[in-house]
Structures are given as C-alpha cells and as structure tokens.
C-alpha cells in the first residue's frame, strides 16, 4: 500500500468512524445518563434512513427531508420517553431489554407495512453529486466529505453542549445523582426527556445523512446497533469522549481490516473489542 492510498484509506476510516459516532453518542448518552439499555437505538437509525427516503421522494429535496425528519424524530423521542421509557428508570436492565427489543419488532413491522421490504436508493443532492480527482484512477465523492464535515460540526456542538452550557451541567448532574438534582428544584423529568429526544434525533439524523451512501434496506438498524454497542463498550459506558475515540478506532479497524485481510473482514472489530476488554475491562474511558 503506497502513501497515497494509505491516506485515502485513513480518510475512509475516519469518515465511517464519524458516522458511527453520531449513532453511538446517542446510545451512550441514554445509557450513561438515564441508565437505560436501549436496544431500539438501531431502529431510530433505520427510521431516519427510511424518513430520508420517503420524505425526499415527497419533497424532492434531501435537505428538506432532513429538516422535517429532525422535527419528527424529536417528537418521536419525546412521545416514546413520555409513554414508555419514563416507566423504566427504576426497573432492572432485563425489563428494559424486553421492552426495547419489543420496540425493534414493532418498528420493523411498521416499516414493512408502510414502506415495504424493498431496498431503496436515495439520490445524492445535486450540488454534492460530483467527485474530486485524487489520483489518476480514483476520485472522491464530495458528498462523503460533506457528511464528515457535518459529523465533525455535530461532535463539537455536542461537546460544547455537555461541557460548557448550563443545560449540560444539569444533564451531568442528573447522571450522577437523580434525587439530588430533583431536590435542588430542577425538573429532572424534563431533562431526561430532552436527553432521550436528543439521542433519538442523533441516531435518526445519522440514518438520514447516511441514506444516500448506505442505501435503505430492511434490517439496516440491527447491523448498526451491534456495532454501536461495540463502540460503547470499547469507549467506556456513558462516556461521550470515549464514544468518539472508539468510533474512530472501529472505523479505522473495519476499513483497514477489509483491505488487508479481506477473508476475515467481518471479525476484525470484534477481535479489537476482545483485546481492549482484556486490557481494560471497563473500556477506554469511564464516564465524563
């Protein structure tokens, strides 16, 4: 592998890692702060992708679809938290798994009823539908660069929100001691609801922005869910910073694994996870 293609592969890996981070950050937030194991998180990604497909064909514009999609997914998050998840905080993980697994089945069946079981493509918006020539043989699609830029911006915003704002302070406080925050007169239920809606929106947004690149197909949420759990476990449960590092690590391992040992491409990330857990059983970073 020469320097050029190494650099391009590096770019590919980082780009995949950043996308993973969008989904995994929501998962780790919901688990770290609210203590809920949310197996349905992959479904939010799938819902996002299908919204991008349906709304883009309705409105004719992916950006329009994303704007409407964000509003819808925040609403979905708030309704789900209010109706279902708010009842789970005091229950044990087994019951959480039961409910959220049930939700996966419900969402998949709804998807099948509403959109059907076909694989769909989503067109890349016209202004990004061109490529930059990198080498004599290879060009790089601009949409992928745009996607990475959006992911970086969101990661920075998320960091600022959690670390620098008053709301972030309340979220962190709520994570460490729910009762204490409540007795200080803060509306902890509202904070949790916002965090949950944020997590859903992040996953759905990742699905929407990735739709032109990944295409839209049944069961796409499950694959993402598994890899996101790997990210959360490697990064340290509840740590945003850990999720970022772990996402990039997984992105790079997956990319270089596919290229260097194609026969074993599917297992590279799991070997990496096992190795890291042997070295640090609690993950790379513990909660921020």
């Amino acid at each position: 592998m020469d320097v050029y293609s190494f650099l391009i592969q590096l770019l590919n890996g980082l780009q995949y890692g950043l996308l993973l981070f969008l989904v995994a950050s929501g998962l780790t937030l919901i688990f770290g702060i609210m203590g809920i194991i949310n197996l349905a998180h992959g479904s939010f990604y799938m819902i996002g992708a299908y919204m991008a497909f349906s709304l883009a064909s309705l409105t004719g514009s992916l950006f329009m679809a994303i704007v409407v999609g964000i509003v819808l997914s925040v609403t979905l998050g708030i309704v789900l938290e209010w109706m279902l998840f708010s009842r789970l905080y005091k229950r044990d993980h087994l019951e959480q798994v039961l409910l959220t697994y049930g939700l996966i089945l419900v969402f998949e069946e709804l998807r099948s009823l509403i959109v059907g079981n076909d694989v769909h493509g989503v067109t890349v918006p016209e202004i990004f539908n061109w490529s930059i020539p990198l080498t004599a043989t290879l060009s790089y699609p601009v949409y992928r660069l745009f996607m990475s830029a959006v992911c970086i911006v969101l990661a920075v915003l998320l960091y600022l929100l959690i670390a620098k704002t008053r709301l972030g302070m309340m979220i962190r406080a709520g994570a460490s001691n729910r009762e204490m925050v409540a007795s200080l007169g803060l509306n902890i239920n509202l904070i949790y609801r916002l965090v949950f809606a944020l997590g859903v929106a992040l996953a759905a947004f990742a699905g929407m922005i990735a739709a032109p690149v990944s295409s839209v197909y049944p069961g796409m949420g499950t694959g993402v869910l598994i890899i996101c759990f790997v990210v959360v476990v490697i990064g340290g449960i509840g740590s945003i910073w850990g999720a970022l590092v772990a996402s990039l690590l997984i992105g790079l391992a997956d990319t270089f694994g596919k290229v260097l040992i194609p026969e074993a491409a599917g297992v590279v990330v799991y070997v990496l996870m096992a190795a890291i857990l042997l070295w640090r059983p609690e993950g790379l970073f513990r909660r921020v």
Binding site: S5, I8, Y16, G121, S131, L138, K258, V259
Partner: protein
C-alpha cells in the same frame, strides 16, 4: 313372455359384460392417469424476490397452457406456497406440499438457502423437484440427487464464462469483489478458475460481509491495485449501489467493471449512466434472435401484458422439462426411473437457445456476452458455447 324375458336378461347380461369389458379396458388407463397431476409451486410471492417468483410462475403456466393445459394427458392442479425467501420456514413449507398436499412434483425456488432445504426434503421423500432459479453450486454438486433438477444456472457458470472472455481479451490482472457468502464466492471462484487458466492473474479477492454496502475502502484499494479488469458479484440493491459507487469513484474511466448478468439485470433503471457500456455474462440477453425466443416473447406479452425476463424463461423451461419427462412415461409418475432418465436426457428448445442437463442435472447451455446499452443488456456474442460445469462431488 318368457323369450322376451330371456332376451331382456341377455340384453342385461350383454350390457353388464360390455360395461365390465369397458372397465377392464379402462383400468390400465385409470391406473396411469391418476386424475390430476399435482404441482407444488413453492416460490417467493412477497418480499424482495416477489417479482422473480411471479415471473417464474407465469413462465411455468405459459408452457403448460401452450401444451393444451395438460401434461401427458393429465390435468394440472397447482398448490401454491409463498416461501418468503426464508430458509427457516423452508423445511416446513416443503413438507406441507409433500405430506399434506401429496404433490407429484415441487417447483422452486429463488433463494439458494431455501432451495437447499427443499432439495434435502425432496431427497428424503424422493419427491421430484425442479429448481427454476437458485444457483447454489452444491445442489447439482455434492448434494445432487436423481430426483432433483435445475433449469436455471449454477453460480460459478457466469464467472467461468466471463473469466474466459477476459483472458481472451488479453487482460493480465484482475480483482474480484463480492459479499462473503456462498453465491458470491462461487461466482468469483468460477471467474478465477478460467481467467488464470487463460494466462491472467487474480491479484486480489475482496470481500465484505453480506449485505453491507460500504464499498468505499474497497474501491480505494482497487484504485491502488490498478488491475486490468474488476469482476464483481452483487445483486438487487447492492448491485445498484456498487455500480453507482464505482462510477462515482471515477474507476469506470480506467478500469472496466464486468460481472454476471445479475449485476445489471432489472437494475438498469436505477443505475442509469453509471452502468453504460458494462459487459456481463448470462444465459439470456435482450435482443436474442431465435425463433423460439421470438415466439415465447410474443406469447408471454399476449398472456401477461408485460415483457418476460430471464426468470420467466427459467420457469417456462421448468415446465418444458416436466412435460418431456411425463410424455416419456405417458403420464405415469409411478415409473420413476424412466421419468427421471427421460428428464436427465432431455433436449429442450428453450427461449435461451438449446438446453440440456449434465450428470448432476445442471443446465448445459450457451452463456452470452452482453453489453449495457441504454436500458437493455444487448446481446454481443456467445461467450461460451454449451457451457457445462463439471458436477464436482456428485455421485450420480
């Protein structure tokens, strides 16, 4: 009164005797024509492969209709099961057809995993099975059986044909890329076999887990390797995406992308400009000019008001094969050995050209080289005449 009475009696006797005689005469015919021939269609009628299941069914019924709606004088009774392309439900569905409905012959299916399960059930119950699509090599290889036939193709056949074409074009190096599953590995394996036998070299075999479509790292790798040609096996949504990504990465300008026909069949609408000029190999093509195909296309168009595709041809030939076998035993499914022998030796005039079967009951047929022009996979030439793949591991 008496003579009249005896006359009457004689008359009655004669009538009875005649009736008995008729019965006696008829009895061999009765045992032969045990009423209707029961045909079990186990195909996908919902999900991703629904269109394929319907095309196969249409093709099958068209051939039966052209034969007067009967097979060797017996009427047909269809038993239809939607297999949902779900291998987990396959044994139960196949058993239902065999044990509950008592079908004489099973026809199905599209999905290889389901077909493998059907083949096992068919072997265990010694039920006649005709496979009108699923291409898993093993079905007519190590798992072959006297009562299992295939009228479609095996996965390695298209690779074998394309490998030869590329070697003949003096291409020196190639990269193969596919999902890491049986169909993909069989197809790229076939390509490697003939391409290297012809003096080429497969410099790298790339895989990604099914059904992932994140091709970017692999495209980057292909650009770095700069092979003379890339052979890819993908189907459905994956095929659409791969061909588009390949073009978006600018690779199609310098490195030709080739593959089995499934890469561009039924997907050209979605692939658009990205697929133009691509070469693929398949046992059928648009613009195939032979009298049988022209007649078939006209009849299909008339019956179903839509253009037939390769799947309709495979269904049509499944029925043709059944008709040949049943005619040989005059409709008596009891004569299994002769029925199976006649089917195995059948020479079928198929819309694709001539069709025969090898020892493992896998098709021997011409594989065509096709080129994408507009929305069609245009016939270019015969890539391999009468291609037959050795039935590896088959003990028939």
């Amino acid at each position: 009164m008496k003579p009249i009475g005896s006359l009457r009696r004689i008359g009655a006797m004669t009538a009875a005797a005649m009736a008995a005689g008729a019965l006696l005469l008829a009895s061999p015919a009765l045992s032969q024509q045990q009423g209707k021939l029961k045909v079990g269609l186990m195909l996908p009628y919902t999900g991703t492969y629904a269109a394929l299941g319907n095309a196969i069914t249409n093709g099958f019924k068209l051939a039966i209709e052209e034969n007067g709606g009967k097979v060797a004088g017996r009427e047909i009774e269809y038993f239809v099961v939607d297999d949902e392309s779900d291998p987990a439900k396959a044994p139960e569905n196949a058993n239902k057809l065999i044990k509950r409905d008592n079908v004489d012959v099973m026809v199905g299916t599209v999905h290889s995993g389901v077909a493998l399960a059907m083949a096992k059930v068919a072997r265990d119950n010694n039920t006649l099975l005709i496979i009108p699509n699923a291409g898993a090599d093993d079905i007519t290889g190590p798992l072959c059986a006297a009562n299992v036939f295939r009228t479609s193709f095996s996965n390695s056949q298209m690779g074998i044909a394309m490998g030869k074409v590329m070697a003949d074009q003096k291409k020196k190096t190639a990269v193969t890329i596919t999902w890491k599953y049986a169909a993909g590995e069989e197809s790229t394996g076939g390509f490697k076999e003939t391409f290297e036998a012809g003096g080429g070299k497969v410099v790298k075999e790339l895989f990604l887990p099914f059904p992932q479509v994140e091709f970017q790292p692999l495209l980057t790798e292909i650009a770095a390797l700069k092979p003379d040609v890339v052979y890819a096996f993908f189907a459905g949504g994956g095929a659409v995406k791969f061909v588009k990504d390949y073009a978006a990465a600018g690779l199609n300008k310098t490195i030709p992308l080739v593959g089995p026909g499934f890469l561009t069949d039924g997907t050209l609408e979605a692939q658009g400009d990205a697929a133009q000029g691509m070469l693929t190999t398949l046992h059928y093509a648009d613009g195939l000019n032979n009298p049988k195909n022209n007649a078939f296309r006209a009849a299909y168009m008339k019956a179903y008001k839509s253009e037939p595709d390769v799947y309709a041809v495979q269904g049509y030939d499944a029925a043709q094969l059944l008709i040949v076998g049943m005619n040989a035993v005059k409709g008596d499914t009891g004569k299994r050995a002769e029925l199976v022998a006649a089917m195995g030796a059948a020479k079928i005039d198929s819309p694709r050209g001539s069709l025969a079967l090898n020892k493992g009951h896998n098709p021997i047929h011409d594989i065509y080289l096709r080129k994408v022009e507009g929305k069609e996979n245009k016939y270019v030439s015969v890539a391999v005449k009468n291609l037959t793949d050795p039935p590896r591991g088959c003990k028939l």
